[in-house]
């Protein structure tokens, strides 16, 4: 099987995340009003398939990686496992001692936290081996486009929260969407300037 290109990986990942958010916002809330137990199970687990797809994508990406990429994946996954493990232990001990009240829904945050730790660590490790590692515009989706898609996802949730009259969620999601949009704009301008200057230099060189 050929290596999955970074751009294709990012496109598939973002599509899965968009489906995940849509399911979480549009389908998952129905679990509270459903009376049938099998249907409750089905709706409660509806966000799982896109997440399983993301895990399969990651597994394929790591399997097809070269030796340096595998090293960065290993360190990223190691740090993520360590951080989530320690936080779970701390939470578990505090909850058992009844110092802190935690309900089961906190488990939802385990996987996103793990992915965030993995992503940040991998990015930091990759930078040590070269500034452009994993950020090569020729084989990955430009950052400003990824930020625009992220802003769109947050805006979608904000709109849904607004229609549901949830002021707190509307404010939070609209703020996130705005922040992502501003970042996308800044990155887009930097990207455009860089390419514009490169074009001018190549034109002068002729």
């Amino acid at each position: 099987m050929p290596r999955l290109k970074q751009k294709h990986y990012q496109q598939r990942l973002l599509s899965a995340m968009a489906i995940y958010i849509a399911v979480l916002v549009l389908i998952w809330p129905l679990v509270r009003t459903t009376t049938s137990t099998p249907l409750k199970w089905l709706i409660a687990l509806a966000p799982l398939p896109p997440m399983l797809y993301v895990i399969a994508l990651m597994a394929r990406r790591i399997r097809d990686s070269d030796e340096l990429e595998q090293r960065t994946h290993l360190i990223g996954l190691g740090v993520a496992t360590g951080v989530v493990g320690v936080l779970s232990l701390v939470g578990g001990f505090l909850a058992s001692a009844q110092v802190l009240t935690l309900d089961g829904s906190i488990l939802i945050w385990v996987f996103p936290l793990m992915l965030a730790c993995y992503g940040v660590t991998r990015w930091a490790v990759a930078r040590q081996y070269g500034d452009d590692l994993g950020c090569d515009p020729s084989d990955s989706m430009a950052l400003h486009w990824r930020l625009i898609i992220g802003a769109g996802m947050f805006a979608f949730v904000a709109l849904f929260a607004f229609l549901k009259h949830d002021d707190f969620l509307t404010g939070m999601m609209a703020g996130m969407a705005g922040s992502f949009a501003v970042l996308a704009l800044a990155k887009g301008v930097i990207y455009w300037r860089k390419h514009h200057l490169a074009r001018l230099e190549s034109h002068d060189g002729r």
């Binding site: 030796e67 340096l68 990429e69 020729s138």
Partner: protein, 65 residues
Amino acid sequence: MNNSVRELRSEQGWSQADLAEQLDVSRQTVNAIETGKYDPSLPLAFKIAKLFGHPIESIFVPGEG
């Protein structure tokens, strides 16, 4: 470890992407090897030596960086 991968690649007129494709690694890995930020494994070093037709010890030499 010091290496002469960049010089050998330039002699062949290959881009980093061309070399990466022939070695079945990412372009970023080629860049990390050339800049001395990453020392390749023995199998990859042999693959590089075979590709350029030079003995491994003439491409990779012990040293700082």
